[in-house]
């Protein structure tokens, strides 16, 4: 009995201690010079969808939910954001080479088609990030247009 108490007490102490280790927040207020909106046109309805369903992990601006104030939730989320940004960062899209921009747009298209994005583990909590059929179609059209306009840009 004594052993269990000791372990529980130890865990509690650890829990309290880790509350002081907060990672830096993924927030930048201004629009970056390499933002995707500087490269291709992003209509406001598309922007709205990207913001609610993609930008939390794929941009330099995350809307943090309430539970990140408690560790280790913030760490988990931070990991997600880091790997999401490494894969695709809409705020840095302009810094990619033209070939890579095309590839990224194609990958967006593919992940929309097979439904692998947004991640299920993400939409489980962020119900409003689930894309409706019309929203998906809107995004797909936008990706297609962006691909064409980038193609034109690179050949002129």
């Amino acid at each position: 009995m004594k052993g269990i108490k000791k372990i529980l007490l130890g865990l509690l102490v650890i829990f309290i201690l880790i509350q002081f280790v907060q990672p830096a927040r993924n927030k930048s207020r201004q629009v970056m010079p390499n933002d995707i909106s500087k490269i291709v046109s992003v209509p406001s309805d598309v922007q709205g969808i990207l913001k609610k369903a993609c930008y939390d992990c794929h941009s330099n601006n995350t809307e943090y939910p309430w539970y990140v104030n408690m560790q280790p939730m913030h760490w988990f989320m931070n990991n997600h954001i880091q790997s999401g940004k490494a894969e695709l960062n809409f705020s840095e899209f302009g810094s990619y080479t033209s070939r890579r921009q095309q590839s990224k747009l194609r990958s967006i298209e593919n992940s929309l088609k097979d439904g692998s994005m947004p991640l299920n583990s993400y939409t489980l909590i962020h119900r409003n990030a689930i894309l409706t059929k019309t929203e998906k179609l809107l995004l797909m059209n936008w990706v297609q247009n962006s691909k064409d306009s980038l193609n034109k840009k690179n050949f002129n």
Binding site: G3, I4, I7, Y96, S98, R99, R100, S103
Partner: protein, 190 residues
């Protein structure tokens, strides 16, 4: 007494976990070592630095014709190492710029193929984009061997896709064993 039991159980678990972990790292490092030696021997001669990249690409292509996602992943990882050991010093500034553009994209596709065992459809999506990069790379720097540019008209909802092959016979990497001979030779690179 109980504390003693608990602590010994914990330390046992801990030890078990540790030994597992070290075993794993051991096996991966030996695999890595194999890859690096293979790549190093390929790039030891002058002018063969694209050869290592190309060799791993062809391995990748052949894995897809056999519908083998594990071999594809291994070849993808090999390709990442081959790209990393590619020597850019002999390139002209223009070549360097074009190469960097290709490399930036191709390395990422190779990484994705390496990381997606069990999802061959996803691996093939990246192989499609990677093949275009490889085509441009060979056009840019040459290959030291003759290659065939093949075209599969059906892949990606009939949008079609190309691949590079070392043999003239069509062996389709996009449709695999389902339609092995679907496609045509579009171009011959020497």
């Amino acid at each position: 007494m109980k504390t003693l039991i608990y602590s010994s159980v914990f330390s046992l678990l801990f030890l078990a976990a540790c030994s597992n972990g070290s075993n794993k790292t051991k096996s991966t490092t030996s695999a890595d070592a194999k890859v690096t030696t293979a790549v190093a021997s390929g790039s030891s001669e002058k002018g063969t630095s694209t050869a290592a990249v190309l060799a791993s690409y062809l391995k990748l292509k052949n894995a897809f014709t056999n519908d083998n996602d594990k071999d594809a992943a291994a070849a993808g990882n090999e390709m990442v190492t081959a790209f990393a050991s590619f020597d850019k010093k002999s390139l002209t500034p223009e070549q360097d710029k074009a190469y960097t553009d290709i490399y930036d994209d191709a390395k990422e596709h190779a990484e994705h193929i390496g990381a997606n065992v069990g999802n061959i459809a996803h691996q093939r999506e990246h192989f499609d984009m990677l093949s275009k990069d490889m085509y441009d790379l060979v056009k840019l720097l040459g290959a030291n061997q003759s290659l065939y540019v093949d075209h599969c008209p059906m892949y990606n909802n009939n949008k079609g896709a190309i691949w590079l092959s070392e043999v003239k016979d069509i062996k389709n990497p996009y449709l695999g064993k389902a339609m092995p001979t679907c496609g045509t030779v579009k171009e011959e690179l020497k």
